[in-house]
Symmetry: C2
Subunit: 209 residues, 2 copies
């Protein structure tokens, strides 16, 4: 794909369970519609804090939390995805998010994100562990040491903070979020609609040409 | 359909915008799968109050609220449903809910609920107005005076309160909610899944027979 292809921004946090569903589904679905995915890792925690929440709504409201785990099992069954309810939720994911930000435009971004999500929501592992992130990068044939060093550099830390500030500024209140231009779609349930919107806007542009 | 048909409980409040979508869609979708709809009107306000919320989450959190109205427009476009953002939200709906509870097992329940929803989310009218409810009942060829009197009788008021208590006891935290047996599904986005679940349970029962 080229930069002229229609694009869809995919805002996600590795700690977010519905972001797991979207991460596993987005490349195949977007690719089928000729839509390019722009990976936008961000920290959801500070967004929640900006609303005065001390944790995920799924933790703060026990009825919704109980529902969400059942819903996740059913959704994973429906999509044919493996699923384990994480023993820690939401998991801290700053390090893999920084790596994802660093590699957002690299060819390995999709595979990396899928593996981190798998570690959290299938293997039930701590994804903020440098050894785990290094193993994933090495498995992908990448230079783990160099990438972890670059991910922790001041410039990338600042870029991560700027990403979160942009999320708040653009009205995000959860994850996953998708943007087709200015059009915001919330949740894995809207992934297909978001892709269709992104693809359709280009068709409209061509009609006008 | 008979009482042996698979059943799906549909819990809704006329003030709930996503309940509007489900109300307009459920009879055709459920009917196509041979699933009988059990209409379960309830007051969402006391459920929210039980969580310490003073209003709808769409009112309390302005970012989510802004998103929801845009989402509703897109969803209605997708389903081919008319839509007007209500000038009052969430609207008080105690009277029509009491009428719906009274008529939950009557043949007119679906048509009545669709008309009340239309009044709220298309005509932008106050749906707790006795004159409006009476007009809808009369249009359906029913005895409006008799039904409004029965709806306001102490027995029906108590039944309405019991309905809300059951909602809290069964872990509901929003609307619409669907139950296929004990399996709870939240939101218009899960309507198709809930119907499939309800239909599938019966198939399993037949296989075992």
């Amino acid at each position: 794909m080229t930069t002229d292809d229609p694009q869809l921004e995919f805002w996600f946090d590795f700690g977010s369970n519905y972001s797991y569903l979207a991460t596993m589904r987005i490349e195949a679905l977007a690719g089928a519609q000729g839509v390019r995915v722009l990976w936008k890792p961000f920290l959801l925690g500070p967004v929640f804090k900006a609303f005065g929440w001390t944790s995920s709504p799924f933790v703060l409201q026990k009825e919704k939390g109980a529902y969400v785990w059942r819903d996740m099992q059913r959704q994973c069954d429906r999509y044919g995805l493996p699923w384990t309810q994480p023993s820690t939720f939401p998991r801290r994911a700053l390090l893999p998010l920084r790596v994802a930000l660093l590699g957002a435009n690299e060819r390995w971004i999709g595979a990396f994100c899928q593996r981190v999500m798998h570690a959290n929501f299938v293997d039930d592992r701590e994804i903020d562990d440098p050894a785990l992130v290094a193993d994933i990068l090495t498995d992908l044939g990448l230079d783990a040491d160099a990438l972890l060093t670059a991910a922790g550099a001041e410039q990338n830390k600042q870029a991560m903070r700027a990403q979160g500030e942009q999320a708040v500024r653009r009205g995000m209140f959860g994850a996953p979020m998708f943007f087709a231009g200015d059009e915001m779609f919330w949740g894995n349930d809207r992934l297909e609609d978001a892709i269709a919107w992104a693809a359709g806007h280009v068709a409209a542009r061509i009609d006008l040409a």
